[in-house]
């Protein structure tokens, strides 16, 4: 391949800019909205020039929302905390259970192995609403309704199959010869798993972890049905700004900015693993 001619480079630059603008503009606009009052946001016609204010962030962080109907209590930071607890603990638990299980499914052939793996995957098939009402009944009789423990358990329906099936693919990609070589030196299965397999599959595990975290973070319906208001995640909490007396667009924008921040930071941190991990698992050797 020879080097591109000048006009091709220019064309590519222009096209990339257009695509970037197309995808990033809504995010940029939301970011700008988060520094505006409702009145400024709803100006006709809309304008990019405004006097920035931090009042939306102040309202969210202080928990006091000044609206048409007076001063209202909002629990956004509590919702954000709930999202963090539910997502982090759920993903951590799924990693703890899912990575060894994925290794077992990748390396060993055992009775009903494929059936079990498929059953775990099938948790992703049914729409959540289909299982939620029966679950609510069970949870009530077991005293798990409205508990973090119960919610984290249910969140395994989202995170565990994802981690298990993605990571299994990566383990299958790793040559067994490396593990044998390590075992020949007298190391146990567990040690081989921890010292050889897991480090080699780390990009895949990171990619699966990030995806599982995003899925858990974006979940809406589990906590809504199975928990009370004080355990709701940010996805439900953000709706509190849509009230009968009006939509608080500024606060919604600020809440979006705040609620995407943890995922964004995690994605930035895991980016190098993520790209490597996604491409690694794409082709089976």
């Amino acid at each position: 391949m020879g080097s591109d001619s000048g006009w091709k480079r220019v064309l590519r630059g222009v096209l990339l800019t257009i695509v970037a603008l197309f995808f990033l503009f809504p995010i940029f606009w939301v970011f700008l909205m988060s520094f505006q009052t409702n009145e400024t946001i709803l100006r006709i016609p809309p304008s990019i020039v405004f006097e920035p204010t931090l009042q939306n962030y102040v309202a969210l962080i202080s928990g006091k929302l000044v609206s048409n109907a007076g001063v209202l209590e909002i629990a956004f930071m509590k919702n954000l905390g709930n999202s963090l607890i539910l997502s982090v603990v759920s993903v951590a638990l799924s990693l703890l259970l899912g990575v060894p299980a994925a290794y077992a499914f990748a390396r060993f052939k055992f009775r009903l192995g494929e059936d079990i793996a498929f059953t775990l995957l099938s948790f992703r098939f049914a729409p959540p609403l289909l299982v939620l009402l029966p679950l609510a009944l069970y949870f009530q009789s077991m005293g798990l309704i409205d508990t973090y423990f119960g919610l984290i358990w249910v969140y395994q329906l989202i995170t565990l199959p994802l981690i298990l099936w993605i990571v299994r693919g990566y383990f299958e990609d790793i040559s067994e010869d490396i593990e044998y070589a390590y075992r020949v030196d007298g190391n146990s299965w567990l040690r081989t798993f921890l010292k050889i397999s897991v480090p080699l599959a780390r990009p895949g595990i990171a990619a699966a972890m990030l995806l599982a975290f995003i899925f858990a973070w974006n979940n809406f319906v589990f906590a809504l049905i199975l928990a009370s208001a004080d355990k709701q995640p940010v996805t439900v909490g953000a709706l509190a700004f849509v009230t009968a007396s009006g939509i608080q667009y500024g606060q919604i924008a600020a809440s979006i900015v705040l609620s995407v921040t943890p995922t964004l930071l995690l994605a930035l941190y895991a980016q190098r693993y993520l790209v490597e991990g996604l491409s690694l698992g794409a082709v089976k050797g």
């Binding site: 409702n38 048409n68 109907a69 209202l72 609510a136 208001a229 009230t243 009968a244 007396s245 009006g246």
Partner: protein
């Protein structure tokens, strides 16, 4: 000073002086308006305790499931008085309206004991009541051992009492024979016109008087005012598109959703009058409605009016009320007018939405929950909410008659009281209660969307709707 204020509050309760006189005199004592109102409210709460054993459930905690709404905010603002009156605790779970009914339906259908009482709409009780999820409140209201003697149930507007009572027989009238009181009306909205007075004055225009007039005026605003469209009405694919202005106007032409033929419900949207009305409504939206009308819900209709993007709306009166305050660009410019679509009609026929209180059948402490319900739906709290918060529209006649409430509304909401007085007598639920309400009414909205988009002519669309609705009714044996 506080003791003197308390004495004055006692005088108000004994009706020896009026509330204004009380505020004047407490003002002379150096007490601010808010503090005076607080003292009066506290003393009124104490007075409530005189004739009834409010302490019967002392120490009990009632659990509520509530919607994020100004009515709820008013309740929270006054809750300490209830706690003091009863010695009870109240825990509440508040969910945003977008997901609220999902939460209620899930809690009730799973027989959850988590919540004792909750907010509901009257339409929802048509599903919850016959399913056995709600307690019939008639027995509580009529029992003097359970209901305080000042509750005055008859003070609640009769159409609203009827609207929250139903026998469960599809097509049977609300509040008719064998009706069970599935809920207590709490706050309600009727449908009228809210308009931007600044724009109307600019065009030397008066509020619309009938459907043709509304179409013309909406078109004129659209044509003459830059960046402003004529009229905001809802258009999303939801039952909520049908129930506000649309049904209110439809009913004004004497049209109904169903008729009863040989004991069977039959869709009634296919009449010549109905087709004529639908054609006008569709044309009005095509000519002067919002560009993306098919996505319009309560929120968009209200926001556009508040921001000055629309000239008027035909929707809930309290939507216009809310938009006249806070950070809205047009706050202070909005005015209200009753609306009868049919020039031959004697009066407006607004359909109503009623936020109500329901008592869960699965509650293990119904009497304690009823203590909260009767307080929350009582006159004292109604007055507090109407005078000091946005607990509007009140469901009690005595609150509407309150001079303080009236002067507060008259001062800031031009024409609101007048539109209410003109609309109230004819305001009620104009839907026929039946178990497929949400599905069939949503289909009606979907059909309307197709007509507005020009996918189907109005006549044909309505004929298809009637066929489909009748088929669905027959398929469930109705």
């Amino acid at each position: 000073m506080h003791e003197k204020a308390k004495d004055l509050a006692q005088a108000v309760i004994r009706k020896e002086i009026g509330r204004r006189e009380f505020l004047r005199r407490t003002g002379q004592l150096g007490l601010g308006a808010a503090a005076s109102a607080h003292v009066l409210n506290m003393m009124q709460t104490k007075a409530l305790a005189a004739d009834f054993d409010w302490k019967k459930h002392e120490g009990t905690t009632v659990n509520l499931l509530m919607n994020k709404h100004p009515y709820m905010d008013a309740m929270i603002a006054n809750l300490d008085n209830f706690k003091e009156l009863t010695g009870m605790e109240v825990k509440y779970d508040v969910f945003p309206e977008d997901v609220y009914f999902d939460k209620v339906t899930a809690a009730l259908s799973s027989g959850s004991t988590q919540y004792d009482a909750f907010m509901t709409g009257a339409y929802q009780t048509w599903q919850y009541g016959p399913a056995g999820w709600l307690t019939d409140l008639s027995e509580f209201i009529s029992d003097p051992a359970l209901t305080n003697p000042n509750y005055n149930w008859d003070d609640v507007l009769p159409n609203l009492r009827a609207a929250t009572a139903w026998s469960g027989i599809p097509g049977a009238p609300l509040g008719g024979d064998g009706a069970k009181q599935w809920a207590i009306p709490w706050g309600f909205e009727l449908n009228s016109v809210a308009y931007n007075k600044r724009i109307f004055d600019q065009l030397s225009m008066t509020p619309p008087e009938n459907m043709d007039d509304m179409m013309e005026k909406a078109a004129q605003i659209q044509a003459d005012v830059d960046g402003v469209y004529g009229i905001g009405v809802r258009g999303s694919r939801s039952w909520a598109t049908i129930h506000p202005g649309f049904l209110s106007a439809y009913a004004n032409f004497g049209q109904t959703d169903f008729t009863m033929e040989d004991g069977k419900l039959m869709a009634a949207m296919g009449t010549a009058e109905s087709k004529e009305f639908h054609a006008k409504w569709v044309k009005m939206i095509q000519d002067s409605g919002p560009k993306d009308w098919s996505t319009y819900t309560w929120y968009q209709v209200g926001t556009d009016l508040g921001a000055g993007a629309s000239g008027m709306i035909f929707d809930a009166d309290i939507l216009g009320y809310f938009m006249n305050g806070g950070g809205n660009a047009e706050a202070g410019n909005l005015a209200y007018s009753a609306f009868a679509a049919n020039p031959q009609a004697d009066a407006p026929t607004p359909n109503v939405w009623i936020w109500s209180l329901g008592l869960s059948q699965f509650s293990s402490q119904k009497e304690a929950a009823w203590a909260w319900m009767q307080w929350a739906s009582g006159t004292e709290h109604g007055l507090f909410g109407a005078r000091q918060m946005d607990f509007v529209n009140p469901v009690r006649q005595s609150v509407w008659d309150d001079a303080d409430f009236q002067s507060r509304i008259a001062k800031s909401y031009s024409g609101y009281l007048e539109q209410y007085k003109a609309s109230a007598p004819g305001s009620k639920i104009y839907f026929t209660p039946q178990p497929l309400f949400f599905n069939l009414t949503t289909e009606w909205a979907a059909s309307l969307q197709k007509m507005v988009a020009g996918e189907v002519p109005v006549d044909e669309g309505l004929d298809q709707l009637v066929d489909s609705v009748n088929r669905q009714l027959r398929s469930v044996g109705l």
